[in-house]
């Protein structure tokens, strides 16, 4: 393990922790602009987290230790995930530990713990949220795995840094198979991060919520960790998308150490663009009924399979 590797690893972790709420704030700001509202401050998510950390935690009488432990586990899972995804540099000492499939497993672990914690209190909303979250999860996970499979087949590896390096150095600009899977990935990203059209992060309307229903009983520092973890999850998904579909500019072991300096602002540009696109999608689309979610995610799955077939048939 060379010093530069340790440095890039820490840099990625700290950047993810620090920038995730900013990314969430940026999306909110863009959406407000697009909807002709006055935008909240870019720093509002940070202030929210800080405020929550200072409050007294109110916990339901019936809550078990699992309920109190879950925010830490979910947060820990998201941080480790951020350490695996090559967002700026592919020299990550942590990445051999978990490849892309393990990354999907890690995200699933966080989801299962959140759902279990939501069931722990035994409220109607909590169990309803857990059921819906797991439903979206089991529909989205195969689609996400198929997306990763296409990229893995193209680069003959499931290690994310190796995929990124391979795709970044290809002469062919864009694979048709990856174009299909990019659409699939975007749909999975929207569903998994509780965004329109599957869920609406801006509402607490009881009958439609999924993600918020899981967090209803959390308060103070537990809620802060959960919200931070949600922001990290969105950040991680965005970075997976960059790693698979726009890998250019990520510094690799071939590039000079100075290249890292260029990849930091490049990531910021990518994130800013992604934020605009996400805000645009949320502005122009409406939320689907819960039972349309399977159709939406089945479409995502179909796109990923199409990408796979295109790759296998045409070799592209």
């Amino acid at each position: 393990m060379r010093p530069i590797e340790i440095f890039t690893q820490l840099l990625e972790l700290i950047a993810a922790l620090a920038a995730a709420p900013l990314f969430a704030g940026w999306i909110n700001q863009c959406r407000a602009w697009l909807q002709n509202k006055s935008a909240p401050s870019l720093w509002l998510p940070y202030r929210g987290i800080r405020k929550l950390f200072h409050k007294d935690a109110v916990i339901a009488e019936r809550a078990s230790a699992l309920f109190r432990l879950t925010p830490y586990i979910v947060f820990g899972a998201m941080v480790v995930a951020a350490g695996i995804i090559p967002s700026m540099d592919t020299r990550l000492p942590l990445s051999p530990v978990a490849d892309a499939i393990a990354l999907v497993g890690l995200l699933a672990t966080a989801r299962v713990f959140m759902s279990l914690a939501a069931m722990d209190i035994g409220t109607a909303f909590g169990t309803l949220g857990a059921r819906r979250e797991m439903m979206v999860g089991f529909l989205a996970e195969p689609a996400l795995l198929m997306v990763i499979f296409v990229a893995s087949l193209i680069s003959a590896t499931t290690a994310l840094p190796a995929i990124t390096e391979h795709l970044a150095t290809q002469t062919l600009g864009l694979y048709p198979s990856l174009a299909f899977t990019a659409v699939a990935f975007l749909m999975v990203l929207l569903a998994e991060n509780a965004r329109i059209p599957i869920d609406n992060p801006a509402t607490h309307l009881e009958l439609t919520m999924i993600h918020e229903a899981l967090l209803l009983e959390y308060s103070a520092r537990h809620l802060a960790l959960m919200e931070w973890a949600a922001a990290l999850k969105l950040f991680n998904y965005a970075c997976i998308g960059f790693a698979l579909f726009i890998p250019w500019g990520v510094s690799t072991r071939q590039s000079a150490p100075v290249a890292l300096l260029a990849s930091i602002p490049l990531l910021a540009v990518k994130l800013a663009a992604a934020g605009v696109i996400l805000a645009l999608i949320e502005t122009v689309s409406a939320k689907l009924r819960v039972f349309r979610a399977p159709e939406f995610l089945a479409t995502a799955f179909l796109f990923a399979v199409l990408g796979l077939l295109v790759h296998l048939l045409l070799g592209a």
Partner: protein
């Protein structure tokens, strides 16, 4: 032959004989729970642990044989222990050690069969499974196989006073025998005209491809009936809940694996060179079973039925890997065949531990509450913390989450699928990635099922007032659960070591191997060269480190004040236990999405009903479409023949006379 402990085979036989003796000893004082439960079962667990150790040590030893001169004259029993036998003997020993300790605390007064008789049946079951794994001729194999089926039948019908349990036992016995006939026919084909029924003769018999195919398909059908492959799965959801929990654990965790052993033995050892398309058959059946099982598990409302359906899923995944291995072997891709076989072995081991753990966990819940129905449980994490937290490990493992063991075998299976695109058959090439997608779907659904299972039993509010009196498991039960949970954790954290041991088996069984690993000891890298790697241990350490750091940071920088209050629930105050999601509610999205899988009957109340009743019945389409017509056909044929039975002696004498005349006419 005097047993000497010089060779592992002798040691194994001695331990199997000891099991038999322990079983017989149960008859000395059959009603004494202290003697049978607290003395014999822990002793038997020691035997199991010893068997696991012997099997593990002998894994790399060259195959050895023995001939026991028992039974019919001129038909000695041939035994052989090789790496494959050792592996499954290890599985048997390691899993049954935990289950027997659990059983020591589990069996109480009030079951139908007396404790001593139960002890005999239980140990006969264990020993016969051991003999199945060691048998080296068709006679010995079938005798052991049938002993296994019969002893487990008696165990399933422990509470034979209840009609539904007798019915479940009958169904199990019926399908076990249909399977046994098929296995017998497979052996008949495999002897290849030599009329020698030793496995050695079968290995050297060179069958023409057609007959080899017939033998494989018969074996797949026969062993598939024992393993619970769709459409022969119908006995599993009936028999597993009927049996006492430790027996369900043994049947699901260990006995299903003897069927996997059988298919492996036949296809890779006895038949020599498998043909690639056999693999496609096994793969298709396996994938369908996996999906079918998990979808049904999601709609179950009885906790043991749910686990039984999940066993169908896991067996399906095992057969998927097996089919993949046969395909790779058939098209001469040794590295990938080894990878797929390792995934099969790994998942068999994993399933033995996690499913036994969960069945024992449900046993503890059943004892404490007297309820198997998910609709009457809930909130048990407060009353039964030991059972709840240990079961959580099994739940997460079965959901296929890292860093536990279930994930590792699914990871290996997916890796095998991922590199399957190099298979030189275009059509298979197209279909294999879709298989990977189905495996991913089944794994994701398994997580759904496990959240339902754990959440409804252990979390939330108690759904019945009586649950407030639930008590935690006793010390022996805790030790049993702990042993199985530790197995899950160890298999998850040290995958490279486990794969290293499994490579020995794969090498000896199929003559294929993975490339030599170049990775450090903590990293699992089945196909070297930066293709794919995973480390359960470092993964676990990393997540734990972040979690601990976060907890410490929060403690350092912020206060730790906590207030307990009523649940918020959006300000709703009159919350009660009936407002939680039920098991039926949790299954509703699955029923909605996978509607064609089920035969559903719904009774919806109209808005003006005085006493509204909502009822939904979910049934197995295969039962209605396949088994019920078959059953009625058999019934009709039997009815037609029943006409012969006139009940008058004169008629019967007439039958004899007519038969005699006809025979005479034929002969003359």
């Amino acid at each position: 032959m005097t047993p000497t402990l010089h060779s592992p085979l002798d040691a194994c036989l001695t331990l199997l004989a000891l099991w038999g003796l322990i079983g017989l000893a149960g008859l000395v004082r059959p009603t004494s729970l202290i003697f049978v439960g607290r003395t014999l079962f822990p002793l038997s667990a020691l035997c199991s642990a010893a068997l696991a150790v012997v099997a593990l040590v002998s894994l790399g030893a060259p195959p050895e044989r023995a001939v026991l001169v028992v039974g019919l004259p001129d038909l000695p029993v041939h035994l052989r222990r090789d790496a494959l036998s050792s592996l499954f003997l290890f599985l048997l020993g390691a899993a049954s050690a935990g289950i027997s300790v659990f059983a020591a605390g589990y069996f109480r007064r009030g079951h139908g069969t007396s404790a001593g008789l139960l002890c005999l049946q239980y140990h006969l079951f264990l020993a016969s499974m051991g003999f199945v794994l060691l048998a080296d001729d068709a006679y010995a194999f079938m005798v052991a196989w049938e002993t296994m089926a019969l002893s487990s039948y008696f165990l399933v019908t422990t509470q034979h006073g209840l009609p539904e349990i007798r019915r479940a036992g009958f169904l199990y016995l019926l399908i076990a025998h249909i399977g046994a006939i098929s296995i017998l026919l497979a052996f008949g084909v495999m002897q290849g005209g030599s009329w020698q029924f030793t496995f050695d003769a079968m290995r050297s018999a060179r069958l023409v491809p057609t007959w080899a195919t017939v033998a494989f398909l018969l074996a797949l059908f026969g062993f598939g009936a024992k393993a619970g492959l769709v459409p022969l799965h119908v006995w599993l959801p009936e028999a597993h809940p009927a049996a006492p929990s430790p027996v369900s654990a043994l049947m699901s965790g260990v006995m299903l694996k003897t069927a996997v052993y059988g298919v492996l033995r036949v296809s890779f050892d006895l038949l020599g060179e498998p043909q690639w398309w056999w693999g496609v058959v096994a793969l298709t059946v396996g994938l369908f079973s996996a999906l079918y099982g998990v979808v049904f598990a999601a709609t179950q409302t009885d906790m043991k039925r749910l686990l039984a359906c999940s066993s169908i899923e896991n067996v399906g995944l095992i057969f998927t890997g097996l089919g993949l291995a046969v395909v790779f072997r058939g098209v001469a891709m040794p590295g990938l065949a080894a990878l797929a076989l390792i995934a099969v072995f790994y998942h068999s081991l994993n399933h033995a531990f996690m499913k036994s753990l969960l069945f024992c966990g449900t046993g503890a819940v059943l004892h404490s509450t007297g309820e198997r129905n998910l609709g009457r449980l809930g909130g048990l994490i407060h009353r039964m913390p030991w059972v709840a937290w240990l079961t959580l490990i099994g739940t997460l493992a079965l959901a296929g989450l890292p860093p536990l063991n279930g994930f590792v075998s699914e990871w290996l299976l997916l890796q095998a699928f991922l590199f399957a695109h190099q298979v030189p058959k275009t059509f298979v090439n197209m279909l294999l990635p879709l298989g990977a997608a189905l495996v991913a779907l089944a794994a994701a659904l398994a997580a759904y099922v496990m959240v339902k299972f754990y959440g409804v039993i252990f979390l939330g509010q108690p759904r019945e007032a009586t649950l407030a009196r639930a008590h935690d498991a006793g010390i022996l039960e805790r030790i049993g659960l702990l042993w199985l949970a530790l197995g899950c954790v160890a298999l998850g954290l040290f995958p490279a070591q486990v794969v290293g041991a499994l490579r020995i088996v794969v090498r000896q069984l199929a003559g294929v191997d993975l490339p030599n690993p170049t990775a450090p000891w903590w990293l699992l890298e089945p196909l070297p060269g930066r293709l794919a790697s995973y480390s359960g241990l470092v993964f676990f350490v990393a997540v734990t480190a972040v979690v601990l750091l976060t907890i410490i940071a929060v403690q350092l920088f912020y206060h730790q004040r906590v207030r307990r209050a009523a649940p918020w629930d959006c300000g709703f105050v009159r919350l009660d236990a009936r407002m939680q999601d039920t098991a039926e509610g949790f299954g509703q999205p699955i029923r909605h999405i996978f509607e064609p899988f089920f035969a559903m009957q719904r009774e919806l109340p109209s808005p003006s009903d005085r006493a509204p009743r909502y009822r939904v019945l979910v049934a197995d389409r295969i039962w209605q479409r396949l088994y019920e017509p078959l059953g009625s056909l058999v019934q009709r044929v039997a009815d037609a023949f029943a006409w012969l039975q006139q009940g008058r002696i004169a008629t019967y004498l007439l039958y004899s006379f007519v038969t005699l005349v006809v025979l005479l006419a034929v002969v003359l």
